[in-house]
Structures are given as C-alpha cells and as structure tokens.
Amino acid sequence: MSAGEGFRPVRVTTPLTADAVAGLRTGDVVSISGTIYTARDAAHERMAEAIADGRPLPFDVAGQVLYFTGPAPARPGAVIGSAGPTTASRMDAWSPLLIERGLRGMIGKGLRSDPVKASMRQHGCVYFGAVEGTAALLAQCVRSAEVIAYEDLDSEAVRRLVVEDFPAVVVNDVHGGDLYLEGRERWRRS
C-alpha cells in the first residue's frame, strides 16, 4: 500500500519471475506495476472450457498476474470505472488449471481453498490481497484497459490492464505463509 506509516512497499513488476515470487513473503506490502489481466466467474468458466477443448486461452498465462475484478462502467474520458477485487474463493475451482500453466500471481480478496494453496506452493504462484472498498483509488492506478476476450460478458470480460503502483499485500506466499490465518491468530482475544 502506498506510503503508509511503517510500510515501505516492495516494488513488483510484471510479468513475474520464479525468483521474484520466491522473494515475496506473507505480509509484504507491495506496489505492482506492469500488465495484468482481469477475469472473474464467467470468464474462468470459459477459460476452463477452452482448456478442456484444447483451444488456446485468451492470453498466455505464463508469468502473468490475474486480477479478479468486474469493473464499474467507465465514465466518458476515464480509462476504467471503479475496480476493486471480488471474492477469490469463487475462482478456487478453476485457479489450479491456470497455476499449472504458469500463472504467477492472483489479486483478489478472501480465503483460498487448500487445493489452490497447495497448487500455488507447488508451481510458484502468489496470492495478493487488495481492498475492495478502495475501488476508486485502485482504478486510478490503471493507465490503460482493453477488452481482449469474451466482450459479451461486459463487466466480466477479460481485460488487459496496464497498472502503475497498484497497492496490495501478500496474503499467501509460496513458502506456506497465510496472512489471513497469521493475522487473526496474532490479534485474537477470545
């Protein structure tokens, strides 16, 4: 997160290398710059169908970062409408298919399943948390946005975004760290 007290964000540039992913630790505040791709429920379902049918995906996922979001409509002259993360667990059924194909990062909010976390550790993929209620601020980090597939899905279409200093936190790293579990245990008073 940008310029918070006590946090100096780790700068992350996409696409991600295996080394870059291995260097990230649960709880790290990061600032992501480069190209990322959006997809949520309906787009994941179609990508899974493409994989099952042996057709190519809308983009090569190797090294890439996927952002689980369905933005609000852009106002005239704006690059994109408000665009915060949606609940990532709804993508759990499909995420391992993409992680096995080299996906290196996911941005969302909320818990991931054990099979997803195991797949992330095995193949080297990190899960970044973003804050849904900062959707207007996150949209300001988007320099360009272009629908590249499934245009009929409207807000749920796959978009290629170029982002600058997109704030996030490492929730699940490739070393087994989990901010949701560790944070809760640290602050539990019951």
Partner: protein, 279 residues
C-alpha cells in the same frame, strides 16, 4: 388522500442510488474514523486509511465507492393515505434503472440463479413495503454487495439454546466469513418471527444509522456484547488481523413462536452504503 406523481418518486430514487453509491453516509464515515483511531494493527490502520481516502475520492469524482454496486434494496414505509399516481412498484424500478444508467453504476443482477443472463439495468429493485398511518412515503435504500451477502446465515435455534446460542452463532458467522465479507463489517441480526421474517429484519437492521442502539435496553446490551465478542476474533480490517472487525451490530427483534428462536445474520462490508428520503 395525498397523491404524488410516479415521476417525482422515480427521480428521487435515481438520485438516491447515485448518492448512496458514490458518497458514504456521515454515520459510516464517523464509524470508519473511530475504527482508525482504535485499531491496533499496522495493516489494519493502513486499510482504514485507504478506505477513508477512497471515500473522499469517490464522492469528489462522483464514481462508485465500490465496483459492486449491488442490489438496490428499498425499505418503504408507505402511508395509508398516500397514492403514487402511475404505481409504486414501476416508479421504484424506473428509479433504479435510471440511477444505475446515469451514474455509471455496474449492472450486477442476472435473471435468476439458473438463467444467468444479466437483466441489463440492475432491476428489479428489491422492495419491502410496510403500510403505516399517514400520507408520507419514507424510503431507506441499502446498496447490497454480494461478497458479504454470500457470507450471511440463518439458523433456527431452539429456545433452550437461547441467547448464548445466538451469540455463538453470530460470532461463528463472522469467523467463517473472515476476509470474504470485507471487514470491518456492519452486522445486521434479525431474531424472531417465522423463518423468513428474521432474514428480512437482519437486512433492515443494516439500514439503521451506524451504531445507533436499539431502543430496547436488553437488545442494546446484546448489541454491545456482540460487538465486543466479534472484535475479539482478531479478523480485523480486510481480514489481515486486527481489533476492528465490526463497526456496529444492530439487532432487530420480532415476536416469535413458543417453540422457536430464529436468528438471521446479514453482513455488510466496509462499503456500507445506506441512504434515506421522505416524500
């Protein structure tokens, strides 16, 4: 019999949808600022700072605070001596349609869980109407996102499980939701009535100004206890760990059966958007 024109109601609802989605209410802003003061974790304070910054930017630029501009849920107190010329239901739907189009708000509703084609205009409005004495029309609008609604729960407790069982169920619901409900949350709890009444009450409880206590001292005490126990879970802002998991707990109660203790818990995320008007 007083008469109002459907067009006047439609325009008021359209504007209400836009305002609710772009500018958080003063009560919610106060609750977030208080949470920022009280939060002990660094990650938690950072999240709360960004939420407050986002609120300033979205309201200034007229863009939605959250991209999930949700269902438009309207609780209507309809005076018995009032008639909406052109029809109440059509006027409310048209207001939502117009507000979501004009405000560049996301259209998030599909025709049904099976036919998942988008309705295209965020209708139908979700409307709950109570007939009340008089000739006024009071509307409380709640913009309800799905992430937190998905983590809501209802249980038919037995009277023997009682208040202790209810408290346990509410806290369990928060624990299970964790980061998925986008904390710090506002917690609506509906108790009593038959099955469905508790669910509607839980949602209606969310439209109360943040932190305003139930006028019944017994229920107000229960709200304070629940808030304390929820904030002891450690879930914290965005689920990153912290002391501020809920901003407020609102309990609404209704008479119930001698054999029943229904409890419904409806969670609302940190993008807690509610507004009211009176015509």
């Amino acid at each position: 019999m007083r008469t109002i024109a459907a067009e006047d109601l439609t325009e008021a609802v359209a504007q209400l949808c836009i305002t609710a989605n772009t500018c958080l209410g003063e009560d919610q802003l106060r609750a977030l600022r208080r949470a920022r003061q009280d939060e002990e974790s660094d990650h938690g304070r950072e999240v709360l700072d960004r939420l407050l910054e986002n609120a300033a930017v979205s309201c200034r630029d007229g863009v939605p605070f959250c991209q999930d501009t949700g269902y438009a849920v309207l609780f209507v107190d309809h005076g018995e001596d009032l008639r909406v010329e052109g029809g109440l239901a059509a006027a409310l739907d048209e207001g939502v349609r117009r507000g979501y189009e004009r405000g560049y708000l996301r259209k998030s509703l599909v025709r049904g869980p099976v036919d998942r084609r988008n309705t295209g205009d965020n209708t139908p409005a979700v409307v709950y109407t109570d007939l009340v004495p008089g000739s006024r029309l009071k509307i409380r609008l709640l913009i309800k996102g799905a992430g937190c609604d998905n983590m809501s729960a209802l249980r038919m407790l037995t009277p023997a499980e009682g208040v202790e069982g209810m408290v346990r169920f509410v806290v369990e619901t928060i624990e299970r939701a964790g980061p998925n409900a986008s904390p710090p949350v506002t917690v609506g709890v509906g108790i009593g009535g038959p099955f469905e009444r508790s669910a509607v009450l839980a949602k209606k409880a969310l439209t109360r100004p943040s932190g305003e206590a139930n006028p019944d001292p017994q229920l107000a005490a229960l709200e304070r206890r629940l808030l304390e126990e929820i904030n002891a879970t450690g879930v914290g802002p965005a689920g990153y760990g912290g002391t501020q998991t809920a901003l407020a707990v609102h309990v609404e109660s209704f008479p119930t059966h001698i054999a029943a203790f229904p409890v419904a818990v409806n969670l609302d995320c940190h993008s807690h958007r509610t507004r009211s008007i009176e015509l």
